[in-house]
């Protein structure tokens, strides 16, 4: 059964500056010694937020003005590095449900969409407009309109992109593919039957 379709997401935003924000930065590996994803939200961007002695660094993610944010705004090649689903899981569990970036690393993007974390691409200039608007007024509501490729905030609106397949999955509520994959069991067996190395 499909999940609830995700046609748009709305919420306050927080700007996380930098290109090539890798998955080790999103969640350092030392916090992945776990057998469930529970509690990962606490470690999101841990080393970006905390000094080695555990004090808060000066960063938007620690700024009380952005404490209510549910949408991350960042740079190019967001989520590069590891295939760890711990990264989008920690984003989701820390209370964020969308990322606006200049581009996404492929595995991270796929992992995020599977969880219903909306990832859309906006140009450098448009992301600057968004982050300026958030900085000017942290209360400003961002709305990512997945269906119409549009991000609105205050009285402004800019275009955004998302891969067509991912967009369809979000709009239909089929972003977790498991149910559909299970339905193909007969076809899977037929394909496997033609491959010698698949035989038991």
């Amino acid at each position: 059964m499909p999940a609830t379709p995700i046609k748009q997401v709305s919420g306050k935003g927080v700007f996380v500056p930098g290109d090539d924000i890798d998955t080790d930065r999103i969640i350092p590996a030392r916090f992945m010694k776990c057998i469930t994803f529970d509690g990962l939200g606490e470690y999101l961007f841990h080393d970006v937020r905390k000094t080695e002695s555990g004090e808060d660094k000066k960063h938007n993610l620690n700024d009380p003005r952005f404490a209510q944010a549910s949408i991350l705004v960042s740079g190019n090649n967001f989520g590069c590095g590891s295939s760890r689903e711990h990264a989008p899981q920690s984003i989701l569990r820390a209370g964020y449900n969308a990322v606006i970036a200049g581009s996404f690393a492929e595995i991270f993007f796929g992992n995020s969409i599977n969880l219903g974390v909306v990832c859309v691409i906006a140009s450098d200039a448009d992301r600057k407009l968004i982050s300026a608007a958030i900085e000017a007024n942290p209360e400003v509501e961002l709305t990512i309109d997945v269906e119409n490729h549009k991000i609105s905030f205050g009285d402004q609106s800019v275009p955004c992109e998302i891969k067509p397949g991912a967009r369809d999955s979000l709009l239909s509520g089929n972003y977790d593919p498991l149910a559909e994959l299970l339905e193909g069991a007969g076809d899977v067996a037929a394909t496997a039957g033609k491959l010698s190395y698949m035989q038991a």
């Binding site: 010694k33 090649n77 295939s83 689903e85 989008p88 498991l178």
Partner: protein, 471 residues
Amino acid sequence: MSKSLFEKVWDAHAVRQLANGQTQLLIGTHLIHEVTSPQAFGMLRDKDLTVQYPHRTFATVDHIVPTNEAVEPYSDPLAQGMIEELRKNCAENNVTFFDTNTGKQGVVHIVGPEQGITQPGTTIACGDSHTATHGAFGAIAFGIGTSQVRDVLATQTIALNKLKVRRINVTGNLLPGVYAKDVILHIIRLLGTQGGTGFAYEYAGDTFDNFTMEERMTVCNMSIEGGARVGYVNPDETTFEYLKGRPYSPTGEAWDAAVAEWKSFASDEGCAFDDVVNIDATEIQPTVTWGITPGQGVGIEENIPTIADAPTQSEKDSIAEALEYMQFEGGSPIKGKKIDVAFIGSCTNGRLSDFEEVAKYVKGHKVAEGVQAIIVPGSQVVAKIAEAKGLDKIFIEAGFEWRAAGCSMCLAMNPDKLVGDQLCASSSNRNFKGRQGSPTGRTMLMSPIMVAAAAVTGEVSDARQVFGFKS
């Protein structure tokens, strides 16, 4: 119509098209480890699903295994919990587990090939982004997330968009002292860390034809650092020679049939590619990263770039951020940076040939005072052969710590970690901020020989000069 290997393997494994336009792709071989599989088994239990093709999933334990502690329970109870969870999940689901007592345990991307599980013309998935390593055999190998590990366990398939294919031809002979690691660091430097997004990389040209399987694996391993989820080399006699006689390789008549089939998967002469890049092997220098992404590398004779060199503001910002983190000055030589730690190992460079090459040159040298040098075999099989050849004694004599098989200092999920802002010369694959376990730790990626040269001189050095390579 002529086709690339990628298209042939894709077509042979495409089950059907899904509603959103993605392909349901059969994953013939599934490799799992302790970090990204427990949650997937948990999801299966929650949904009351079972492993559909248990004979096509193989497990090992690598990320959390301490390399200096053989006896369980490990001193880290979280690590102990993870290995026990994997044991339980494999036993309950009839999955083969290369456990620490089998003599076959090791880094998943080293175990698959050396057991002969990794074969040409197959699809392989693993919850680890360095799965492209297996592409060295002409397999299409994907790094996947944990929900997809669940999908493979439950259905033996994943939902995926077809990739484009970029052929990267490298031609000519590598200069003495230049290795496969330098080839991939050079490619990433040229094409960027996101240049491969949406592509599978087909590595070709006579440089690759002449490479051993282990060299091909080193290059394919780091495809993802260039943004490419998949990287492969077409199978040839070198591939078949490597696979012959391995535990999971076919035997007898089945071997001949398999080789014929494997050959048929190679890219057809003259087939079309979405993009082609040509690289002259003689232009590749021993390459070292100075920054915080694998694309931030320079030749050993070059200087670190300055902020002013960068053409765009975002590149200027990236260089500034990297220089600040690495505590390097723009425009200064890469050579001569004082190191604290030297690490040789990982799924990139933890194979027998890496250790044989290092042993050949470090014999008679001593690790510099104040440098901690650790050398970590990628698998128990590698360790056993290296020890039988006496390589461990050469390393220990030179002042290296010879450890047990595991991921070790590549990623900081075990006791091998940098402390404070230590600078590490590393044969691993990622130099991200904090990658090696300390939030301020600094990593410089290079070939194992270059790590060895840094270890014995105490600073980033040109191995060709340190070890007297003849050019």
